[in-house]
Amino acid sequence: MIWNETKECMSRDELSALQSARLVKLVDYVYHNVDFYRKKMQAMGLEPGDIKNIDDIVKLPFTTKDDLRDNYPFGLFAVPHSQIVRVHASSGTTGKATVVGYTRKDIDIWAECVARCLAMAGVTKDDIIQVAYGYGLFTGGLGAHYGAEKLGAMVVPMSTGNSKKLTTMMVDFGATAIACTPSYLLHLAEILEAEDKIKDIKLKCAICGAEPWTEKMHKDIEERLHIHAHDIYGLSEVMGPGVACDCRFHKGLHVCEDHFYPEILDSATLTTQKAGETGELVFTTLTKEGLPLIRYRTKDLTSIDYSTCECGRTSARISRFKGRVDDMLIIRGVNVFPSQVEAALVDVEEVSPHYMMIVDRVNNLDTLEILVEVNPKYLTDEIKGLELLTKKITHVLSQALGINPKVKIVEPNTLVRSEGKAVHVQDKRKLY
């Protein structure tokens, strides 16, 4: 089913005209409502009138995650907080979170986009959908929830943390759809298999996102649970889940292009790549009121296809992600930057600032082990002391990262000191 045929299937010319009109309006809006953009444009000698159509977008300045950090918490909001009805937050590159805000209209558009994505996966108002993303500051839970309600489905807001209850309700309620991270769904499949309950479930489809996954995981999920699995993409800065999703033909993720304008750029030169060429995905939010972003650099690497899909949608499709421009890791759906570990360890005087992060996937769940060197001054000959120290470091790191790492203290001066850019991460999951 196509949720919004007018928008999802409009001709490319019509879409381009709509995007042009929205961009012109957006630039005028941010120029007059966000100091950050006005100053940037003035520094470049740009005035709102210089932007006449969507092709002029290349004249506009970029926005990065660091810009959000530098304007923490609300500096880039275009409306007074009386018009903001909700905020979400994700990890920043250092200690500070990236905070995003939504007006009532933003929330409505977000729900519309998620509804389109769920419809792409075959969800209708007759479905019972379990939302098993975290509810809270993370955009996943509430984002999927509002979209599913908009669609009219029966929503079961499971959130995360109780797999047993989830699988029991999946069987007892006869849930037909689930929204969660792909690795968590594989974990659930294991539980269902172990309890011989696969035959008892009525699941038809899954809408998985918040972390990169491989084609093998996709196949695994579909075969083990006998369902269709769909890839939903989004990031809180741009909106949250619902920016793009793949349809039943699985030939790339359809972008909600009337709301989020995608560009693929060479990440070194920042010039536009041809269709099909890999580059950094950059988004401009065409309709957002609370936190409108111009040319936001996602740091995700992908390519784009503008041809009409077999499903009938004309919206451009981005390919499965091919990696990251920066060193951000996604662990159990949480964005983690090595720089956060470094920033947190600086405050722990018992350890040196050297560390190694080892990311792996055991039984379909991500694991994060962090090796830290003890400062020789604080070494003790008592196990008790070392255990307390491990506990303290674990606490500091889990507060900073939002996930619980397994901390292992190692002998001083044993972690690799590489010349130039330090190698702090071993990712054994091979996700790209």
Binding site: D381, L386, I409, E411, P412
Partner: protein, 140 residues
């Protein structure tokens, strides 16, 4: 009397313990007793040696994390209940034992190495009660 124990923090890596022992051997440091406390991640090797300062210096040169720790070495009679009697003295004085291990056994007497919560107090209590404590030089 307070004795010096050579303590080495070692990761659970194959051959790591052997490397420590090799450094001691090369430098003529003789081990009189040892205890290895282990967890899944790392171990703490505690050694009573004839020359703890030299052992620490040479191990540090080779990149090992070492410490000298104050401990008490007690000489006890080879009789049932003698250790219990000595520990009762500590207990009565509100001193806790952090860890303990046995030392060389020589004829009618045995020795134990003790690390306590308050070492000076433990030493004083033992002296007051006429219990003999040894330095590493007195150990045969």
């Amino acid at each position: 009397m307070v004795a010096k124990q050579l303590s080495v923090f070692i990761e659970n890596r194959q051959g790591r313990l052997g490397e420590v022992l090799k450094v001691l051997k090369t430098n003529g440091v003789n081990i009189l007793s040892l205890s290895l406390a282990d967890t899944t991640e790392y171990g703490l090797l505690r050694l009573i040696v004839n020359n703890p300062e030299l052992g620490k210096e040479k191990l540090a040169e080779d990149g090992f994390s070492t410490m000298l720790t104050d401990v008490i070495i007690l000489q006890i009679n080879h009789e049932a209940g003698s250790l219990q009697g000595l520990l009762q003295i500590l207990s009565d004085s509100d001193v806790n034992i952090e860890y303990m291990y046995g030392l060389s056994i020589d004829g009618d007497e045995a020795s134990v190495v003790l690390k306590t919560s308050d070492l000076e107090k433990a030493d004083a209590v033992f002296t007051k009660n006429g219990v003999k404590t040894l330095s590493h030089k007195e150990i045969k």
